[in-house]
């Protein structure tokens, strides 16, 4: 495995991950103000990941009142441009219709809720470059990651009973290439680089937008999940929910309680029960029901 793909975190594994080499944390930047909704990134994703198949045509209704390709993400459609419709109320009383384009895909959280919630060892990993990836060979299809994800991204495949999502093109990153969606984007609203540089670029763009009349422009890099590997520049940065993004995403408290409190208690109880059984057997022997006849080999 290339050194930029060493592991930083592994799901449901008590021992630390094996990655010791450092790798730059990579990120995607999505400037929602320059997205024209051409969907080149969607097609690039489908093409690179070889996800073109008849299932998609079956899953997508032909009409659902939107220019969006699909109503929602699916197990074989990992990158969806959401055509969020918004009517701006202007101070003079007039109204103006806007599309608030948002690229919906895995956010590659620094503190991934899916990985925390996953009970299958090695089914969800985080590489040293920050990318969160699912290993379907180890996936047990329990969908706890769907519960753990604050952005509602992972999808269970009905066919394979495994969960799938955007991999940030790990196969391309491992060989030093950028993700397929980033390469395709004709307007340059998608950009790829190190997190450090992209945050600078995004902040510069926010300043430019504020200067151009978007007073509410802001960068979306939610601290509730430790920052994300996908950062947005939002024209209406004070209302990320208009773009379908949670205002202040956190790993659900149920996952934390379960993993940090209930799971150790459960493990202790199980070990206790086992020990108790052994001690009881040694001290008192097996339980014999009244009237039970001992059967010896000789008698048979």
């Amino acid at each position: 495995m290339p050194s930029n793909m060493e592991l930083r975190r592994i799901s449901a594994t008590p021992s630390p991950a094996t990655g010791v080499r450092t790798a730059p944390t990579v990120a995607k930047m999505i400037d929602t103000t320059t997205c024209i909704g051409c969907k080149a990134c969607e097609v690039a994703c489908q093409e690179w990941n070889d996800l073109f198949n008849a299932d998609i045509a079956l899953e997508a209704p032909s009409e659902f009142g939107s220019y969006q390709t699909m109503p929602d993400l699916t197990a074989n459609f990992w990158n969806l441009i959401r055509f969020n419709e918004h009517v701006e109320k202007r101070p003079d009383g007039s109204e103006k219709f806007h599309w608030l384009m948002a690229k919906d895909q895995c956010m590659h959280c620094e503190d991934p809720g899916c990985l925390k919630a996953c009970p299958a060892p090695g089914a969800i990993v985080q590489y040293t470059n920050g990318v969160v990836d699912f290993q379907q060979e180890h996936c047990i299809g329990c969908e706890y990651c769907v519960t753990g994800c604050p952005f509602d991204i992972p999808r269970l495949s009905k066919k394979t009973k495994k969960v799938y999502k955007c991999t940030l093109c790990t196969d391309r990153l491992a060989y030093g290439l950028e993700p397929a969606c980033i390469k395709a984007c004709p307007t340059g609203c998608l950009q790829f680089g190190t997190k450090e540089h992209l945050v600078q670029i995004a902040n510069a763009r926010v300043e430019q937008l504020k200067h151009n009349g978007y007073e509410k422009a802001a960068i979306y890099d939610p601290p509730g999940v430790g920052g994300t590997g996908v950062i947005y520049v939002l024209g209406l940065g004070d209302q990320p929910e208009l773009y379908g993004l949670p205002n202040d995403p956190h790993v659900p408290w149920t996952v934390s309680v379960w993993k940090h409190a209930l799971k150790p208690i459960g493990s202790l109880l199980m070990i206790g029960a086992l020990l108790g059984t052994i001690i009881h057997y040694v001290r008192y022997g097996r339980n014999e029901a009244p009237g039970m006849r001992k059967v010896d080999r000789e008698e048979v």
Partner: protein, 194 residues
């Protein structure tokens, strides 16, 4: 120390169970990154044939072009980062070029529909080129204007027009214009203008 057969079997079994139970992990490696599917494919640089923008593309074909690689197929098409027009980007239609090439309905032979006919016929390239040449000669002979009404030499051929395509490069377009001017053709256009 002498070990009987029975004792040997007991020790082996206990040892085996112990190894399996305490730390001999048969599970595969934790994370496997998918291999780069275009790592050793043959790269062919080309131009997207769809619109007038003429984006550069790289077509990835299975195999290294060696003698016995015959029934190969295109596995991926993506933007050419060295092409000055698109610098690696592509539109949603251009990205699907693989399906333009690997497609049952793709036209691979010259087809001819005669004037007034209701169906297409398959013809050879030789027949096509000969027929086109004959008709061009006939059209030029029929419509050629050597001198205009004022008696000036013009050498015009107004019976024909030529349209270039977006995949024609500078050199092709240069030759095309040279050739059509030598025929006297005045009406020219190119899809790249549209």
């Amino acid at each position: 120390m002498a070990v009987s057969r029975r004792e040997f079997l007991k020790i082996s079994t206990a040892g085996g169970v112990g190894i399996v139970a305490f730390g001999f992990d048969l599970a595969p490696a934790y994370a496997v990154v998918r291999e780069l599917k275009i790592e050793r494919t043959t790269e062919t640089r080309s131009i997207c044939p769809y619109c007038a923008v003429s984006c550069g593309v790289i077509i990835h074909t299975l195999g290294d072009k060696s003698k016995n690689v015959t029934g190969t197929t295109v596995v991926h098409v993506e933007g050419d980062p060295d092409h000055p027009v698109n610098r690696g980007t592509l539109c949603p239609k251009g990205i699907t070029l693989k399906h333009d090439i690997v497609n049952n309905t793709r036209l691979t032979k010259p087809m001819y529909r005669a004037s007034g006919s209701d169906h297409w016929e398959e013809k050879s390239w030789d027949w096509m080129i000969d027929t086109i040449a004959q008709r061009m000669k006939k059209t030029r002979d029929d419509t050629f204007i050597e001198k205009n009404a004022a008696g000036q030499t013009v050498n015009q051929c107004p019976g024909m027009a030529i349209v270039g395509g977006c995949t024609d490069n500078n050199e092709v377009n240069y030759l095309l214009v040279k050739w059509l001017r030598s025929l006297g053709v005045l009406y020219t256009d190119n899809q790249a203008r549209l």
